[in-house]
Symmetry: C2
């Protein structure tokens, strides 16, 4: 699980772990002093990034709000890979 934090933004980079681990990590971040949680999904993880967002909205409901969705491609080891970056904020 690769994660990073800059200021009050927490970035969760999806890998191959069970989705529940990332869900837990996101919920813990939201309950702490984090303003924005960024979910980054690359390649086949894009689907899981959207499912993670949907799970958070169904569990946390009014407490979070979708700030931004960014899509694009990035180079990883010389290959072009699609990605999604979902930014979630607190209300």
């Amino acid at each position: 699980m690769s994660t990073g934090a800059s200021g009050n933004t927490k970035t969760i980079v999806l890998g191959n772990r069970p989705l529940r681990e990332y869900i837990l990590e996101a919920i813990i971040s939201i309950n702490r002093d984090v303003d924005i949680v960024e979910i980054l999904g690359r390649g086949k993880q894009i689907h899981r990034a959207v499912t993670l967002y949907n799970t958070l909205t169904s569990r946390l409901g009014d407490r979070i709000t979708l700030k931004n969705v960014e899509i694009g491609s990035m180079l990883i080891r010389g290959r072009r890979v699609s990605y999604i970056k979902i930014s979630i904020g607190k209300k």
Copy 2:
């Protein structure tokens, strides 16, 4: 390939066909009297929807602009499925 059109919006729903067919369909729509092309990807097609968008931007460059990205979940045959809807406009 399931497609729909309402007004000047063309919706392309990704299925299991090769991505190049959807790319072609999108490019033809953009060259015609269509203002917005919506790409809808559900479940595992979400990844391909983003790749389709990336391919269009690399091929058409300045001619198109990303209008909106919507993510959420919908019920399909009683199951909750994540989706992405990417709206592309002409410049």
